[in-house]
Symmetry: C2
């Protein structure tokens, strides 16, 4: 038994839980700084740091010490953003929420991303300011930059999928 190595099984579990919780709160903190709201950030981080990659509402509520209502709201947001998917655990009435590694960071780079909305606003700005005015030209260049970035993303994700294989992550 691991007691002979200086700790009990329970202490091991406890240490693991503490490590997990520290990571969850720290990573969630970064997501919050980047603009995500707190509860979805914490839930997302908790799923990322779970062994199975999926947890039930009850588990999330317990681990994060929040009410079912809070979980419900946050999880709706996350599924809308395609960062998490909902499954019904067969043979029970619990919902399971899962991070699909691929899925979620593909979502980061895809169609209705933040970038697209910026581009729309910028495009309208160029038109209404006039493409031939100094202001219009400045906004136009910004637009050109984001369009360029957008055009590069596809290729980048292709290269990632390639690179991923070389790392032995399947």
């Amino acid at each position: 038994m691991s007691q002979e190595e200086g700790r009990t099984r329970a202490a091991d579990d406890d240490a693991a839980a503490v490590a997990r919780s520290r990571f969850v709160e720290r990573f969630a903190g970064q997501l919050v700084e980047a603009g995500m709201t707190r509860m979805p950030a914490r839930i997302f981080a908790a799923l990322l740091a779970s062994d199975s990659g999926a947890l039930t509402s009850a588990q999330l509520g317990e681990q994060l010490k929040v009410s079912p209502a809070a979980v419900s709201g946050a999880v709706r947001y996350l599924t809308q953003q395609h960062m998490v998917s909902r499954e019904r655990e067969p043979g029970t009435r619990r919902d399971l929420f899962r991070v699909h590694d691929n899925q979620w960071y593909e979502a980061l780079t895809s169609r209705d991303s933040v970038l697209k909305h910026w581009e729309d606003a910028l495009r309208e700005g160029v038109e209404s300011l006039g493409a031939d005015t100094p202001a219009g030209r400045r906004v136009g260049e910004t637009l050109a930059f984001f369009e360029f970035v957008q055009s590069e993303l596809g290729g980048m994700m292709d290269r990632w999928r390639e690179h991923r294989k070389t790392l032995g992550l399947d």
Copy 2:
């Protein structure tokens, strides 16, 4: 005179001001959705849509209908993020705030970007969860993804500078 084209000079100016303001508020709105706080977003948008690319505190306050205090706070934030630079207008005591097109979106992709902080948190997570645990592996893959993205950014910005020339923006 442009009155013969159906509008007065004043009306032209007014129309331009309205167009500018609509753009400012719309683009700022997108920045807010992406996580920036409202006042910095509005000020940044106002600078972007200005003809000279630079405005004084007073101009910003007047155009956005906010107090000097609000301008001061927002501008401090923007300069810390390297999105705007402060100049002293020579021969006066006014400060001028400027968007340097290059500078600001280079800032988006550089060193102390959001990405780096995410990576730090993820790296710590892998260590404390254990690289050989399921959770540690999942967090590790996420880390690998962001490291990959980071490694691609340099090349992308190089290609942008190239592409920029072909667009005739110098």
